[in-house]
């Protein structure tokens, strides 16, 4: 029986070397950035042996840096840690709320944004707000680092662009312009602990007179990957984000969605509700941007 192995490299170089070595030998390797998805999958879905590379001991994946123009969030920082940072919450309230929505207090003690993104679930809660905040993935590999927009990172259900030997180091976000705010809402049948049945994130910028000058809308759990819905953004831009505009954005989201029926929801339900969430999230973002 080829066994499991566990390694916790203490530096980025060491981690990259480890991954390259495994890739070279064709050995299965998996990165542990949080553990809340990986350990469940090892138990319930696929328990075949592999090397687990724990990247939580690496300084770079734990770095949180709120700069003058942009913010860097290390891939392995637990959601609970992020949500204890008041400055970060003030800058990206929707993004931080989405991290706060993932599972329980216990889950948040482990789950990371990097892990949530790499897990590449259509229902990953932090992905829509990352996208509307124009997030950039910082990826390390043996050839150095590269950058990629979050909306281009996930390639399908459970798959992403990372090549063998690459690590997602963290996420970079431009700090919001004045009178800009984000919001994220998801629908679950209970108040907590469920996977999103549908989710919608909105980030918008208001002119002094309240006219929306820029907007991004992304929806989750209603297609194989999170969708950036330009038509919904267009429905908001140039308006005062009034009920008419909100209804138009909602319709655009419902129309853009291509959901499935499964144990968590039906096509009809998801279509309708993703519009409702977009409408409500946009109203929250509007109120935040104007205050």
């Amino acid at each position: 029986m080829a066994g499991y192995a566990y390694v916790a490299p203490s530096s980025l170089d060491e981690a990259v070397a480890l991954l390259s070595e495994h890739a070279g030998q064709g050995k299965r390797v998996q990165i542990l950035a949080g553990g809340t998805d990986l350990l469940v999958q090892m138990r319930s879905v696929d328990n075949s042996p592999r090397t687990i590379v724990d990247i939580k001991q690496i300084a770079e994946t734990n770095r949180l840096d709120i700069g003058a123009r942009e913010t860097f969030i290390g891939a392995a920082i637990a959601s609970a840690v992020l949500n204890e940072n008041a400055d970060l919450k003030a800058l990206f309230p929707g993004l931080l709320e989405s991290a706060d929505l993932i599972g329980s207090a216990q889950i948040q003690g482990r789950a990371s944004m990097g892990g949530n993104l790499c897990n590449a679930s259509p229902a990953g809660d932090t992905i829509p707000p990352m996208i509307v905040n124009a997030g950039i993935c910082v990826i390390a590999g043996s050839a150095g680092t590269r950058e990629l927009a979050v909306q281009d990172f996930v390639t399908g259900v459970g798959t992403n662009v990372l090549k063998d030997g690459e690590i997602l180091l963290g996420l970079k976000f431009p700090n919001p312009a004045p009178r800009t705010a984000d919001a994220y809402l998801r629908f679950i049948p209970r108040t907590e602990m469920d996977i999103a049945v549908a989710g919608a994130a909105v980030c918008l910028t208001l002119a002094d007179d309240g006219t929306c000058t820029a907007a991004r809308v992304a929806i989750g759990a209603v297609a194989t990957t999170v969708l950036l819905v330009a038509a919904a953004a267009d429905a908001l831009i140039g308006t005062k984000v009034d009920d008419t505009a909100l209804a138009a954005a909602a319709t655009a989201c419902s129309e853009a969605s291509t959901p499935i029926t499964d144990k968590r929801g039906t096509v009809k339900f998801r279509r309708k509700v993703v519009g409702v969430l977009c409408k409500r999230a946009a109203a929250i973002a509007r109120d935040r941007a104007s205050s």
Partner: protein
């Protein structure tokens, strides 16, 4: 005859004697026993919902390093049909086949083999190395389809029971029952208003947090010890003995602390497997189910399809009612259709009714008892129909129920006349309750519903040992699932007249105390409590004799008062009363240690009624329900430990609300449960619920020394319809099926 009286200890809520161990992590539950040289057992489960087993090849597993034993159906003795396997278990041959399939698998997750290995990871690898050849059959998953004429048969040897003549053709209908009174046609002809409906509820699970687990060890003489979490170790012993064809005397069962059961731990799953694996490996074997296994392979309760029709006069008097009740049994017979049928109209005084019920095989897990088995499903239908009837009649729904309420002397639908019961008292309390009279919050809906459970007595044993300092050890045989040690101590304190703190209750194993039936059916505080009270009375008799001997009097000149022996009134004697401690200290000189005992088959369990009131708000754009308030009013007879009575009411309400709103077994077209995890089988979490208001009504049960009725079952019955009626009130649309999940509500609003 018990009256509502002021007791000294009964009716107080002291800290339970086993409490400190449970808040510090010391208490040992089913999976907490580790023995030297212990192996881990795991079960291989069927990937198909319906298939014939052509062969099971264990050799691959046995060849692995670290694997010590492997078994399949062929290793178990043949068990004859016909005998009952304990409370809730059904036919013992069915139990035997349910825990290990022989020729056929009847549901996805059905056990087909088991292994014992030196670690869990090796045991799991061993399961992968077992080869099973199946002939895959079409599964029968839909209740109506299963009942249809040419349905695929789950069991080719199933001939419907309880018909006037045994049918000549097998079917999936394992049994039927009917209850009739008066003439329903005439009754409906007298009605001014008739309502009717069809109601569907999917399977739901008990959802106890502790998965099934046990550790078994057997010696070379064939004497086995089994440590397990169980609602009844005596019945587990008897079922295991039958399944393995062992002598009961060779089986010792020790009940660990139990992490919830709600009926689901009244039947065996792992225990015989662990004994057999231990026998083959000659080592102790520990087996623990995963949560997924609990969902796929242990008893949920039945999914149902019910039809109810009720007719009434303009003044609300019900003139006739009919019910057609189909219950899924799962892969083996034994759905709780009997109690469901007997309960559905029990709160009401009806002259004309007809009830038909069906126990139907489908390729799903074999159902097990779940809190008031069968009643929540059937009463959901009736209590919705009554809500609709009240609307038609423009009558208050509680007034309608009061108009027809059963009372002392009413003939229950299942035959006998009720003794003193508390249904009207519950209705009166509900009508006056602020939860019912206060204005409804903006946009919310309010629903009410009634519930009922018979409660049972059955066999219990108890011993009372007086320690040398006068403190007391009560020994009984019912696992403490929700604070019953505390209620035993309270009843003993009241009877003996000594402080609660001087008494401890322990749960004996099958070799150290007398037989008791399961902790279930709300019988422990009632029946085992009755045995404890009688054992204490035995002690009092002995103490009076010891005091009489000490004082040189006749026994009838001594009375027991406030924990002391005193001369009877009128007896002129210059003696100092003797306390229990003093009598105990002198026991060596008066006949030796004091030991009281009692065993009984308790009769006269008192029916328990309830009324629930709930306020809900529905998000009309998403269909999500928010529970704003919930009030449970229930007749407990006498509340021995009120805090734990409230706890039963609150816990039952929470389970009922979960069932009403989100819980359901979801199967794919192959009969594979799609949501076998706590992530997707959505039980209520703390943030889903408000505080649950309780009002305990006390109409003492005349058959119990302190007036106890059972309280554990009834609380789950009414929340299903109360929630459905509140949703109807909130959105103006009636939804007959459960759960009231957001997609279903949104669909109804469209």
């Amino acid at each position: 005859m018990a009256e509502a009286v002021d007791y000294k200890y009964i009716g107080t809520s002291p800290i339970r004697p086993d409490g400190v161990d449970k808040v510090t992590g010391r208490a040992q539950f089913g999976a907490d026993l580790n023995l030297p040289n212990m192996l881990y057992g795991k079960v291989l489960r069927s990937r198909y919902a319906h298939a014939r087993i052509k062969s099971v090849d264990l050799s691959g597993a046995l060849a692995l390093d670290g694997v010590y034993a492997a078994v399949s159906g062929a290793d178990f003795p043949e068990v004859q049909h016909g005998e009952l396997g304990g409370e809730g278990g059904g036919d013992v041959a069915d139990i035997a086949q349910n825990i290990m399939a022989r020729d056929k698998v009847r549901y996805h997750g059905h056990a087909v083999a088991a292994v014992a290995a030196k670690s869990l990871s090796i045991a799991e690898a061993a399961l992968d190395a077992i080869k099973v050849e199946y002939e895959v059959l079409t599964p029968v998953l839909d209740l109506d389809e299963a009942m249809s004429e040419n349905a695929v048969l789950v069991d080719e040897n199933c001939f419907t029971k309880n018909l006037p003549e045994t049918p000549d053709k097998p079917s999936n209908i394992a049994a039927v029952m009917q209850l009739t009174r008066g003439n329903v046609d005439e009754g409906f002809a007298q009605a001014d208003v008739i309502v009717e409906g069809e109601y569907r509820i999917p399977m739901a699970h008990q959802g106890y947090i502790e998965p099934h687990a046990c550790t078994a060890s057997i010696n070379e003489a064939g004497q086995a010890t089994v440590w397990c979490c169980t609602q009844g170790h005596f019945e587990f012993r008897s079922m295991t003995a039958k399944v393995l064809d062992m002598n009961i005397a060779d089986l010792k069962f020790i009940a660990s602390e139990i992490g919830g059961g709600f009926g689901g731990k009244t039947v065996i799953y792992l225990e015989p497997l662990a004994v057999l694996l231990s026998q083959k490996s000659r080592r102790p074997v520990k087996m623990m189910m995963t949560r997924e296994e609990v969902f796929r392979a242990t008893g949920p309760t039945s999914g149902t399809h019910c039809k109810v029709k009720v007719g009434a006069k303009k003044d609300g008097t019900i003139t006739a009612a009919t019910a057609w009740l189909a219950y899924e049994a799962g892969g083996f017979a034994g759905a709780p259709m009997g109690p469901g049928a007997m309960a559905i109209f029990a709160p009401y005084d009806l002259e004309n009714f007809h009830i038909e019920a069906f126990d139907v095989l489908v390729n799903k897990p074999k159902v097990a008892a779940y809190r008031a088995p069968g009643a929540p499903q059937s009463m959901h239908a009736m209590e919705i129909a009554l809500d609709d009837l009240a609307r038609e009649l423009k009558m208050d729904p509680l007034d309608l129920r009061m108009k027809n309420a059963a009372d002392e002397g009413t003939r229950a639908p299942y035959g006998p006349k009720f003794p003193a019961i508390g249904f009207k008292a519950c209705l009166e309390a509900a009508m006056a309750h602020p939860s019912y009279t206060k204005p409804l919050p903006e946009g919310a809906g309010r629903g009410v519903a009634a519930g009922f459970w018979f409660n049972v007595g059955m066999q219990s044993s108890a011993e009372v040992h007086i320690n040398e300092n006068g403190t007391v050890t009560v020994v009984e045989g019912n696992p403490d699932i929700g604070g019953t040690r505390a209620s035993m101590c309270l009843m003993a304190a009241e009877t003996l007249g000594i402080p609660y703190e001087q008494i401890r209750t322990l749960i004996g194993d099958t070799e150290s105390t007398g037989f008791s039936n399961v902790t279930g059916g709300s019988r422990t505080t009632f029946a085992t409590g009755m045995a404890v009270v009688q054992a204490c009375e035995d002690i009092i008799t002995q103490c009076k004799a010891r005091a009489a001997a000490t004082w040189g009097m006749d026994e009838d000149q001594v009375e027991w008062e406030d924990g002391r022996a005193v001369p009877a009134p009128g007896v002129n004697a210059d003696v100092t009363p003797l306390t229990l401690a003093e009598i105990a200290a002198n026991a060596a000189k008066t006949g030796g240690p004091l030991l009281g005992r009692a065993s009984l088959n308790a009769q006269g369990a008192g029916a328990s009624f309830t009324v629930n009131i709930t306020d809900l708000r529905v998000d009309r754009e998403t269909g999500k329900v928010d529970v704003l308030a919930f009030t449970a009013i229930q007749d407990a007879g006498t509340a021995i430990h009120p805090a734990y009575v409230e706890g039963q009411m609150q816990g039952g309400a929470s389970q009922g609300l979960g069932w009403a709103l989100n819980e359901e077994y979801i199967f794919d077209e192959n009969g594979v449960m799609e949501n076998a995890s706590f992530l997707d089988y959505r039980m209520p979490v703390a943030s889903d619920l408000p505080m649950i208001d309780t009002q305990i009504i006390e109409v003492p049960n005349p058959s119990h020394p302190y007036g106890v009725r059972g309280v554990g079952e009834t609380p789950i019955v009414a929340p299903l319809a109360a929630a459905a009626n509140a949703v109807r009130d909130a959105i103006g649309v009636r939804i007959n099926d459960l759960p009231l999940s957001p997609p279903r509500i949104l669909e109804a609003l469209d």
